[in-house]
Symmetry: C2
Subunit: 675 residues, 2 copies
Amino acid sequence: MNISQKAASPATVSEKDMANAIRFLAMDAVQKANSGHPGMPMGMADAVTVLFNRFIRIDPSMPDWPDRDRFVLSAGHGSMLLYAIHHLIGFADMPMSELSSFRQFGAKTAGHPEYGHALGIETTTGPLGQGISTAVGMAIAEQMMAARFGSSLCNHFTYVVAGDGCLQEGISHEAIDLAGHLKLRKLIVLWDDNRISIDGATSLSTSMDQLARFRAAGWNAQAVDGHDPEAVAKAIDRARKSRKPSLIACRTLIGKGAASMEGSHKTHGAALGEKEITATREKLDWPHPPFFVPHEIKSAWEGVALRGRAARETWEIRRNASRSKARYERTVNRDIGPETARRLAKFRNEHREKATKVATRQASQMALEVINGATDLTIGGSADLTGSNLTMTSQTQAITAANFRGRYLHYGIREHAMAAAMNGIALHGGFIPYGGTFLVFADYARGAIRLSALMGLPVVYVLTHDSIGLGEDGPTHQPVEHLAMLRATPNINVFRPADIIETAECWELALAEKSTPSALALSRQALPMLRTTDTQENLSARGAYILREAKGPRDITLLATGSEVEIAVQAAEKLRAENGVEAAVVSMPSWEKFEAQTDAYQRRILGGAPRIAIEAAGRLGWDRWIGPHGTFIGMQGFGASAPAGELYRHFGITPEHVATEALHLIGRGRKERRR
Amino acid sequence: MNISQKAASPATVSEKDMANAIRFLAMDAVQKANSGHPGMPMGMADAVTVLFNRFIRIDPSMPDWPDRDRFVLSAGHGSMLLYAIHHLIGFADMPMSELSSFRQFGAKTAGHPEYGHALGIETTTGPLGQGISTAVGMAIAEQMMAARFGSSLCNHFTYVVAGDGCLQEGISHEAIDLAGHLKLRKLIVLWDDNRISIDGATSLSTSMDQLARFRAAGWNAQAVDGHDPEAVAKAIDRARKSRKPSLIACRTLIGKGAASMEGSHKTHGAALGEKEITATREKLDWPHPPFFVPHEIKSAWEGVALRGRAARETWEIRRNASRSKARYERTVNRDIGPETARRLAKFRNEHREKATKVATRQASQMALEVINGATDLTIGGSADLTGSNLTMTSQTQAITAANFRGRYLHYGIREHAMAAAMNGIALHGGFIPYGGTFLVFADYARGAIRLSALMGLPVVYVLTHDSIGLGEDGPTHQPVEHLAMLRATPNINVFRPADIIETAECWELALAEKSTPSALALSRQALPMLRTTDTQENLSARGAYILREAKGPRDITLLATGSEVEIAVQAAEKLRAENGVEAAVVSMPSWEKFEAQTDAYQRRILGGAPRIAIEAAGRLGWDRWIGPHGTFIGMQGFGASAPAGELYRHFGITPEHVATEALHLIGRGRKERRR
């Protein structure tokens, strides 16, 4: 393959002309919006023109072609770079009118590139460091697909444009270490080495030798003049031939081309002004009005699309001839079929009969053993807590640089990169990633978890050790606010199952999601099987349900999740036996699913009796369910270091305390006490 | 100064004996608790014995001596290493009975080291990567104190023991880049290079050349046999002489000394078992019962304390003779005096008279201009958003490797390291750090923000661009769940001021805190001055107050924070003018402060009328204040990219919508509509 084949372009059009088209579209759009970032698109226009003109294979007429090269604009604030190119190569949803509506309501040209908002945007970027780390996941998925289907069906590169911010963020360290370790040779990062950040020169805050840093992580690293097309092309050529992931430091001037502001941090995040832009038109000999690109330059850019389309058509011939076609399609479509749900239903029946008592983290592993046997699309992993998160099953061999047929990623002690890589694997397509850490360390992955939710990706977070129930590790490891943090985040299912039955149900629900990530909060400690009715219906699908109804009218309703449902049940039994008080117990494995039910269903479940909520976490959010006269039993502050049972007693999360509060709440507390 | 002067110890006691004391105390304590991590204390016992025996200057009889060396156990799971040493050198609160109560309720020996829980614990560790990053802040503070008071009053080292986890976490990248850039020569990190993590060999997940990595970041890096005392001592000697921060890779065997499990990841996180420990007693010729250390070995360790005490006493003579003594004491005690509050009160009066309309981020800068002029203890900074966060004032010159007299840290694009460094600066003592980023990027700093709260440190987070009001940058930059995330976290003040007056009040409250961090959520957009009464009393101190009362009985109460208080006021005026409806407006700059008020105050503020809450964020938590029949007007999901005004209209956060909902709520909506 001739890897540096230029697209057939009119002889009179140079890559400099093509790059200037990007520059002026970026300047004009930011100027009109009076908001945005022209400096980066102008600085990287030369290098990215070379990348697209000579290398990248994408087909705007079929943006989702599975074997396309991936292009990730990690420095997402330079979104006009991407939009300009999408316009120039002919994405149907990116006419010039969209560029001139940059950053306006409803425009395709959002402030930062948003996955799903316009065609061909491979991932949402803007929060720095996410793009490069998500790209690591994409490159992992590419290698996994190639290992399964061969290079005739999967053989593409993942290109990234990253800025100083991306490389300063901690997540980049986690991601490049993982990429170097896995020898992701088809990952190529172009670093916009403009030595400018928002505060001024990068020398204000860093003295890092980035080339040495990337080499230490097992990368191939080169430095070139980012404004020299041939040098950039040669570097990309070499990078494509490397057996390692590659960094190409493109030494650039931010705002390159600007009449007087070239190289200044003032070009970073604001419009240049009409005067500067007019002067720049003269300097660059660009006598065209705003939002206009001469036909021959547009034609040159369209050559990129023609080359991509030809590659895609050739690939389709190969795919159609492949004996693996059906399996390939199932994989690309992430079609896990009905078998998984069928086996999980059987699993629930078995364990209801056996009344299996296990920690929900162990129940999760048992469910995963079923799931991973029923589908080969799930990809497990853990941020170095495999034996604690229980995310490995008999089917999940480790993925290594030498074996991408595996199904398990040892992500290392890198929660943030794990989450971003899972996003990348899901975005690439072909797999359903799940990954484990302790619930408290969801903190470390917050930036990427938020993007899972914002992009609507079907990834699953396995978050074990979900309360003070983890015991002796103490308050640094005991989540208190994390359920609220996750519940407050839009578009993420937060599941906190109470027993093995609910755990299997929640896994089934998580795998059924197409555009919502899930977080499973799981216990370290063993929990009894609590389901009282048959297990045909997935009761967790309703979010909350009556686990134990009162005999006759309810005196009180106990709401609980996860490990505290057992405590609610014990309290209810105690209240009946000792006080003749009838309590219903409502298990609430998912607030989000419950909120989606009808008002009538919600009213029936919550009932008219006074309510107590029990959860070994903070109160925030529970007032919605208990109302102004309800009681919350949980954590008031941080936890402590001691065996779990002692902590539950110390913090008053016990059946005895629930019963006492229940009696108070229904006006019998004082009387009971006086006996 | 003889920098490798050994403590005077009985000639018969070797450092190997001293190290073995650590090993057996760790083994015995973990065995008795049946919980904990013996592998790391055993592996690092030799190197850390050398560090303490020959170098570290601390005085157990005065643990808070300001010029002590700082020792940070970044690999906090190895807490028994620290507790054993504290016992051996004679910390008063660490008798043997505490070691034998390891990880039990109420013991000083918590699962992970917790700042404030036992004497001499310099910072809370356990969440990996935090210790090394916090230590960077301590080393910055040391250099700042030395620049202000000279080396006779401030001249100590910050030593860190870090594990593979610490170095894999992304935060370590941010921290070491910052440390290398600032040439923190008195920061020395001993890396427990045992090549084992929880999942097994580190080769499962990393191929990083750590020495090359640290050198790329501007560090001095050495590698030694961690079980060779002389080699370790020489390396520490060299590190102390280096002009750069230093990494010493101590090649060790995890669980070093264990009879059969030496080098195995099985020693990492579980008791070794009676049998193994018995065999280890034989192997290491340690014929002593559990929790017993022979007198001569204990005496040898106590030499560390004697040397420390002598150093402290010598230092006190210097301090007492210093002409800077008074100023030094004020600094160490973080005594900002009454002047700051006095000037802020004047500031509030002036701006109430002028009715100054500015964004609260700008109000914050104006308040900081006053604060930084009234005290020199505040240290500003931003994660490369200085011009957006508006955290710099005329008094805050940049801190650089050549000038630690400055008062402003360009933290770079490193939110997590910024937060950890602020923790370290606060822990070191002498300064009150504040640092800025966008509210949405509190996500990136979550791990360290949680530790600010858990440790109770007086640091201030300046979190600007606090809602969709930031406009065109779109949903990646628009916080929705972050106020809930922060409010759910115990022991942190979340302030969302509505105007310039409240902003100054909230700054005053934040600076008055001794053991609670504060987060200021500030607007990008301009907000009018709203205060209707005089500004003598700091009304924000009550958390919520009636900004605008109804004339006569309230028909409705509008609750709002920050930029939405203006909308509430406009809605109230509209309701009165157009509908004859009397609405009270309650501004709630801080839920935490309001929760601390009496029930009577809370009832008076909230009133008996129906309530509507208005906040451009998610609903979670608001039901507590609006009750079951209230209405919430805010965000249902993520934001969008458009000018702020359009977004407010699109999401229905407008006076018109508030008024309509108010009329519905009080039963007049239908009638109004039919007219």
